[in-house]
């Protein structure tokens, strides 16, 4: 522990203490300029810095306390400080500026041995005498302007407490759910504007107090009641819990004031803080003039959300209904509802919870809801009021929000008030989002806009979230004659309905020879386990060697392909989801074409749908060549669908499989095709390899189709096709 310096040492040198690693508190016994003073560290040619200096002239001569910032990497330590000489009536140079050449700085050596901060303060108090209070107050204020550290805040609290004079009492204290403090009581000289405070407790904290001051009958002259909010001075700061608060030091124009804690102070629970503040807040008519920012801050705090539905009690003709709120992981919250506000009382609508708030009314899509005014006709507060248009409905995506217990909708009214309605959010899937939009947006054009603005961001967020956590995965496998070393493998992707699987295996195995293809049945674990004996027998009966791949977190056939493929050793895989009818001959030609095409190609068939329509290379719309039925041989295509195709297994894995924001199998296949092309693979189409396709087992909802189309439009480019060479 450093020993206290002797008087002789102080007389000759600065005696210094480390406040923290970057700030030194020093005491000197010489006259130095006060305020922010440019100094040189180590010598007159040393690094420049700006010291904060508060001095005194006492019976024992002049002296000063200096707060000296220490730059990172100061060579040799702080051996001396060059300070401009005191020049009465001269303005010291600005911080950072060089000391003018005609001014010769005074070099103050620093005692090599550091002492404790308390020792420096003790010396200063002794040397400065009564002037110490002003010195301490000035340094406390200055410390609050520096970058905050716990040590500096503690020092500021010590100095401010030493300097403060008792000014009033805190009679009630509470901490809002948001972390700021409610304080109320009385004081003699609180500033009107918001200003810095130090909240005393086990660990002092910096804050800003905004308080309304108002008369109270029980208070004498010069004293006024106050009610206010202490906000942390920066977002990272944490104020002490209400029960730990021991006092508040307020910086005023006249110095520091101390608001001690009333012995019988009231502890206000978090959910009661807004109400307590609102109850204390006097009518505007009796308020002395208060700065507008302070008024707003207090008003905002007084109507914070406490879990109660304050919208229900609103006298103004404002009504809000929430039809559905769906949260999807990573995708925020999708809200559908209506707002009836015939007198335009609402200035803003936001959704908030879990520390995040999202303004809604600047992003939502308004939707015609003629049923809303009809439904409110019997509401006496509405009394025939009507909005100028029928667009009372809304649909909006609130990104970043989740199922927080304090999730609510907040209506900010034009008069500064805010009312809230708690939101019960349901955990949903992408299917729930589709259902929500399907109901909310029956008109196609509105739906398209809503999908673009609200659904796509949610789906993209969901896809990102799922990529990290709930990705389909392979739980286990069971090989039934399956050759794990097979270089080419057909992967049958299945959804939960496995009723057709025996038929698909029989179809795949039907042939005239004895060599059978290696087949992987990738299916959701539960149905596959339930039907495992039946499938095993069906495979054996058909003479089809299979691997059963039990997939977890897989909702459909493509998910199962995602899960099963990475565990294979094969070079080439044929992807065959359950809406595509297996055809051994067509698959054989696809494999042959792939081998002939080289290790960097994806070979897609022509998909013939049950209604007689064709999908060339699996790609609809721009990818359709003029005469798909008549083409033969491999055709190079710049875009290919991987929905059902033959491709290198490694490429499938590298491209990330079917993951992404798309929903329908066709769209997911095209998306994977795009990613494969981006990896440098070549797309080949085998027009005369025709695979029968059907609608997927689960029909793709209208909204999902719309979303897929809009997503594809973002990424799809023009497509052309040209023959690669004759087969």
């Amino acid at each position: 522990m450093p020993s206290d310096p002797t008087e002789s040492e102080i007389a000759r040198r600065l005696v210094a203490a480390l406040v923290d690693r970057r700030l030194v508190l020093a005491i000197g016994r010489a006259a130095v300029p006060a305020g922010r003073v440019p100094v040189r560290l180590g010598g007159v040619d040393g690094p420049a810095a700006t010291a904060i200096v508060a001095g005194w002239t006492g019976e024992a001569g002049p002296g000063a306390l200096l707060l000296i910032p220490v730059p990172r990497g100061l060579r040799g330590g702080l051996t001396a400080v060059a300070v401009p000489p005191p020049t009465p009536n001269a303005v010291p140079p600005h911080a950072g500026e060089p000391v003018p050449s005609d001014i010769t700085p005074v070099l103050h050596p620093v005692q090599p041995k550091a002492v404790a901060v308390e020792a420096v303060l003790k010396l200063a108090a002794a040397a400065a005498g009564p002037a110490f209070l002003a010195v301490a107050g000035a340094l406390a204020s200055a410390l609050l302007t520096l970058e905050a550290t716990a040590e500096r805040t503690r020092l500021a609290a010590v100095l401010a407490h030493a300097a403060a004079r008792p000014s009033g009492l805190v009679e009630a204290v509470g901490r809002f759910a948001e972390g700021d403090l409610l304080v109320s009581g009385w004081a003699g000289d609180l500033p009107a504007d918001a200003g810095p405070v130090l909240v005393l407790g086990p660990e002092p904290a910096r804050g800003h107090l905004a308080a309304l001051r108002f008369p109270r009958p029980d208070l004498g002259d010069g004293r006024r009641a106050f009610a206010g909010v202490v906000a942390p001075s920066d977002p990272a700061a944490v104020l002490p819990p209400a029960e730990a608060v021991t006092g508040v030091l307020v910086e005023t124009a006249a110095g520091w004031s101390a608001l001690d804690l009333y012995a019988d102070r009231r502890l206000v629970p978090p959910d009661a803080c807004p109400g307590h503040l609102a109850a204390l807040r006097p009518p505007a008519s009796v308020l002395p003039a208060a700065p507008e920012p302070v008024r707003r801050q207090i008003a905002e705090a007084a109507c914070r959300f406490t879990g109660a539905d304050t919208l229900a009690g609103l006298a103004a003709p404002v009504r809000l209904g929430l039809d559905r709120a769906v949260h999807v992981p990573g995708g925020g919250v999708m809200l559908a509802g209506w707002l009836f506000d015939p007198e335009a009382r609402v200035a803003a609508v936001e959704a908030a919870g879990g520390g995040t708030a999202v303004r809604l009314d600047d992003r939502w899509t308004r939707i015609a809801r003629p049923d809303v005014p009809e439904g409110l006709a019997a509401d006496p507060a509405i009394a025939g009021r009507r909005e100028p248009d029928p667009f009372a409905g809304f649909l909006v995506h609130a990104p970043g929000l989740g199922p927080a217990p304090d999730l609510r909708l907040t209506l900010r009214l034009a008069d500064g008030e805010a009312v809230h309605r708690p939101v019960a959010v349901e955990a949903g899937t992408r299917a729930d989002l589709f259902a929500l939009l399907d109901v909310a947006c029956p008109i196609p054009a509105v739906a398209a806009g809503a999908v673009e603005r609200h659904l796509l961001p949610a789906l993209e967020g969901l896809a990102r979230a799922l990529a990290g956590t709930a990705a389909p995965r392979l739980q286990s496998t069971r090989d039934l004659g399956f050759d794990a070393a097979a270089r080419s493998v057909i992967v049958l992707g299945c959804g939960p309905d496995l009723a057709d699987l025996p038929a698909r295996l029989a179809l795949l195995a039907a042939g005239t020879g004895r060599d059978r293809p290696a087949v992987v049945v990738a299916a959701p674990s539960r149905p596959l386990a339930a039907l495992e004996p039946e499938i095993a027998r069906a495979a054996a009966y058909a003479g089809c060697p299979v691997r059963l791949a039990f997939c977890a977190d897989a909702a459909d056939a493509l998910d199962c392909l995602d899960a099963a493929v990475p565990a294979l050793q094969a070079d080439w895989i044929a992807l065959l989801p359950d809406h595509v009818v297996p055809d051994a001959d067509a698959l054989a030609r696809l494999f042959r074409a792939a081998r002939a095409g080289g290790p960097d190609c994806v070979v897609a068939p022509t998909l013939l749908h049950a209604d007689g329509t064709l999908r060339a290379a699996g790609a609809g719309r721009p990818g359709r060549p003029p005469e798909p039925a008549g083409r033969q041989g491999r055709v190079a295509v710049p875009r290919v669908s991987a929905e059902a195709c033959v491709l290198p297994r490694a490429a499938f894995v590298r491209a990330g499989g079917f993951r992404g924001p798309f929903t329908g199998p066709a769209a997911r296949g095209e998306d994977l095709g795009r990613r494969l092309m981006a990896l440098g693979l070549r797309g080949l189409w085998l027009p005369d390899a025709v695979l029968l396709a059907a609608d997927p087992p689960e029909a793709v909802p209208r909204i999902a189709r719309l979303a897929d189309r809009l997503l594809a439009r973002r990424t799809a480019g023009a497509t052309e096709c040209r023959p690669e060479r004759a087969a």
């Binding site: 057709d500 029989a506 179809l507 042939g511 020879g513 059978r516 293809p517 058909a542 009818v581």
Partner: protein, 439 residues
Amino acid sequence: MPGSLRVAVLSHGHPRLSPGGAEIASHGLARALRTLPRVESLFVGCAPGPGPHAGSALSGLADDPGDVVFHPGPLDGLFLTATDRDPVEDDLLPVLAAFRPDVVHLHHGLGFGIDLVPRLRRALPDAALVVTLHEYVALCHQQGQMVKAASLDLCDTATPAACHGCFPSIPAGRFALRAALVGATLGTADHLLAPSRFLADRFLAHGFAADRFSVLPNGLSAGPTAPAREGVATGATRPVRFGFFGQINPYKGVDVLLDAVARIPDADWPAGAELLVAGCHLEKHPPAFQAKVQALLAAAGPRVRLHGAYANADLPGLMATVDWVVVPSIWWENAPLVIEEAFLHGRPVIASGIGGMAERVRDGVDGLLVRPRDPAALADALVRALSTDGLWPRLAANIRPPVPLEEAAARHLELYRSVIARRAGDALAATAHPLADAV
């Protein structure tokens, strides 16, 4: 028997248990094959329900000790595949392996399941596989009738979309899978047979390979024939008695026939004229159909005589009581046994002019053809038969008798040998699964 040809005939039913036309034809074929020199045959007929003897799906019949009755268990109603494959694996295949057939001739896709064909291919790689298709169940989920489910209108082509229209609860994709599975499994047979050109054309139109598809009519056992009623052949007695033989169901058109009979004016319905309805199973059909038939029977009154169910042995006696046989089916039919039986007994046939009926009956030559589902047209034909002098003898004289069983067996034997020869030629080229060289 050294050097003999061994033929296993597998049928979807045994005629003693299920006396349908295909069962009778296949069983007769197996019997007739045995009569040919250097030919051995084994008949395996399916029977419903579990095997009667514990631990085995096989049993025999006291009256036909050489036959094997097989209890395969239920089929998948849509895909026509076996749902319990153990009976095949544990019981049927060992029996066939022990028989060491040169030819396995499977009749009908039903019974064993169509996936038996590729299973047989693997189990008996040296045997020729021949499949006779007796109707359209492989194409049509509507009980193989090729009629629309709701309206019973005739259907020309089974497409996944059209089938989904008949069965909205079944996605079109499943019908696509069904069609592909049927094509692939039957495609593993060496040869396909149809008893009628019409049926063969239907399958060819649905993509089956023509080079491995032939038409061979079913044979019919040439038992005792029913003589014409006294005086009918000479014209001394008017041929005024009609006979309907078959199941009383919506597809056989008995309601159309009853309607036609009821609407013939008394002036055109001579004394003694009569319609004999020999058939059963009305009670198995929807109440609406039952009510309709009952109402039509009431309207026809004494013009109609109901006989009910009959055994095959009863047929000559029943046939002896009628002059004409009416086959008013509203579906295509294939090669209706009742027409062969009518011709066997020398009775001209009045039939719907579609499908297998129009192929066998020549209008104005050996019978009369009418528009299907048209009671008025059928009534006109009945009146014509009742009132036209000399018509009956002329048509009866032109009747082409059915192919005798022995001749049918000989034709089948010829086909078997050609298939075996072709297989031997094919064997020069390596046969492999289409994916064998790809994987």
